[in-house]
Symmetry: C2
Subunit: 374 residues, 2 copies
């Protein structure tokens, strides 16, 4: 028995400093419940990385969701899809009939100033904030001719362009490659428009066992892995192996290959992330991910549309919310309800979330999910 998605919802994604985190979550949850045609659930799995203790209970009790199991899960950037993955199994093991998944984060209140890793954590010791970690991957790709700076920029051109048709993202625009490359340098070679923003947002999904509803979307497979120590001696850049191995698990369960999927939401926290992800997923050979975007293959009209929502580059990255927003987008696409950003004839979609955590070098987490039209 495969769990299915009954309903999805999100808040707007952008800097919403004056909006309480709970308000964002309520918007997402109420939309998802209405979409599912339900007003109560048997359990709630909440993915968040930076919220205070009791946040999940505060959010849910105000909606009358009490006396059921409420769990809070943290898995860095993959917190939202980790909650989703566990909720899927909670349904499939027969424990519950209706499970609510919530991903939420109010990042602007957590990182009002520059993010400075503490000297006490591994990143701090090595001077590596997340942009630096991804920049190292980008540097290596450029140095070993696996990608060009222009190809990196093309990811941002595409995603910020896709977002023009997504009313729920703050950042969007018709940028030229030149504009992307000359935006402020953050961590060489990654410029400002190649890095996701620190934003606020929430997403929600309602899951259950199969029922007679043609809008429901089937979870055909999903996999969760954590990574291992990464350093310069590793065979691949940071993130490649964990995405490759998690994809293998998820695709094997779903009985598909990457190229069988019609639409993808992947973890483009930085432009290099999307290129590495497309290769690790198996859409392109190693070093061919840059050419994939250059050839328009990952555009909404391409053979393998990637991040039609605009991805993290457009939504920003409210940690726990990101993965759930990715699921929202794929569900919306598979239902044919994505409006001007609709991918044609899509039946199967893939979500990939790669979490580094503040201690990226000691381990990371990845969740990959394969969804299909019922």
């Amino acid at each position: 028995m495969n769990a299915v998605i009954y309903g999805v919802g999100t808040s707007f994604f952008g800097k919403q400093t004056e909006t309480d985190l709970r308000v964002l979550a309520w918007k997402a949850i109420l939309e998802a419940l209405a979409d599912a045609g339900l007003d109560s659930v048997d359990a709630a799995y909440v993915g968040t990385a930076y919220s205070e203790l009791g946040t999940a209970q505060q959010i849910l009790s105000a909606l009358g969701i009490t006396e059921v199991p409420i769990l809070t899960l943290e898995n860095a950037s993959a917190s939202g899809t980790t909650a989703f993955h566990e909720a899927r199994w909670a349904i499939e093991s027969g424990r519950y009939e209706r499970v609510l998944v919530v991903g939420v984060e109010h990042m602007t209140s957590k990182f009002a100033e520059a993010v400075r890793p503490a000297a006490s954590d591994p990143e701090g010791r090595s001077g590596m904030a997340m942009p630096a970690l991804y920049a190292m991957a980008a540097q290596r790709y450029i140095a070993t001719s696996l990608a060009t700076p222009k190809q990196l920029a093309m990811v941002a051109v595409k995603n910020l362009g896709n977002a023009l048709w997504n009313p729920r993202t703050e950042r969007k625009g018709s940028y030229s490659i030149e504009e992307i490359l000359t935006s402020r340098m953050i961590a060489d070679p990654l410029t400002r428009l190649q890095c996701c923003s620190i934003t606020d947002g929430a997403g929600a999904v309602v899951l259950g066992p199969p029922r007679a509803n043609r809008r429901d979307i089937v979870i055909r497979g999903s996999a969760l892995r954590s990574g291992k120590l990464w350093d310069y001696r590793s065979e691949h850049v940071w993130g490649f192996e964990i995405v490759r191995d998690t994809a293998r698990d998820a695709f094997e369960e779903a009985g598909i290959e990457a190229t069988d999927s019609d639409v993808f939401e992947v973890h483009d926290a930085f432009t290099i992330g999307e290129i590495v992800a497309t290769e690790a997923l198996g859409l392109a050979e190693l070093g061919a991910g840059g050419r994939l975007v250059e050839a328009g293959q990952t555009a909404i009209s391409g053979a393998y549309p990637v991040n039609p929502s605009g991805g993290l580059l457009a939504r920003g990255h409210p940690i726990g919310a990101t993965g759930v927003a990715q699921v929202y987008e794929i569900v919306t696409q598979l239902r044919g309800e994505a409006g001007d950003r609709q991918v044609r004839d899509c039946r199967i979609g893939v979500v990939e979330t790669m979490g580094g955590g503040v201690s990226g070098v000691d381990g990371n987490g990845c969740v990959i999910t394969v969804l299909e039209k019922a």
Copy 2:
């Protein structure tokens, strides 16, 4: 198929300000793995409430536990048993063969000074720190003749006395009722020796499907619930209803009544907590919990031994670690390996953890587990 416990381990529980949280976790994990006769696992569920992002990965990667799913769960004081409960289901749904559960917290580094609820959270708005919340329950019990101050003190006399035979707790002693009642007042009527300490500790459990090993302990049932809004108009004191309802779920699954169990570890964060828990579990009628301890029924030699380890009053309450340490104690008792604090002829044991969260008034969480000798 019921999941079974292959191995358990803990660190010492007490103020260990100079000891890194990871060292505490490593001690617990290595002991549990050795006890289980394993050196690797398929997944890890880590319960912690106050640890930094990536803590679980840092702990585990140092032990070579990488490339498997690593999840971090938060459910306030019930974080450890919430991880245990989810891990149990991960085994029973056939997802994994060997799952590691870790509970860990370094509280002395988080609460080096007095705990002051933020004005922005519900506790802060109402001036309620956890001792105040429990004190209100104690006040109500005394005011309505459900318990006496002496009976409250007897819980501390018993538990701190039991701990004399537990080499893993810092706080212990042969106290008189007078000494308990005249220790410094924290939140009237709860004196210092009736409140658990802020300490550091870790626990670990290894779970898997049944195998041929007579030391393995069967998880006969477990249940997880969250609570609802509590205020003075509620029929019972804070915590009563959630423990009663969660116990009903767990006992129904296990096919037992409370009085069928031979040993109990319950959430005595404050003395009143143990009395309320014994009533809510069904060991005594409402208002009879005080007489239960007064009559020696909850002593190690009594009919219903409660907290033979010394409970939270002896171990202190390193949030995520507490529930896993409770499981450790019950497993050790059921195996007959508890030394001088051994409960005679015990076959079934119950763990009860009640988590309030920093926002106790908006919701709480409870996990109750029934364990049995194979």
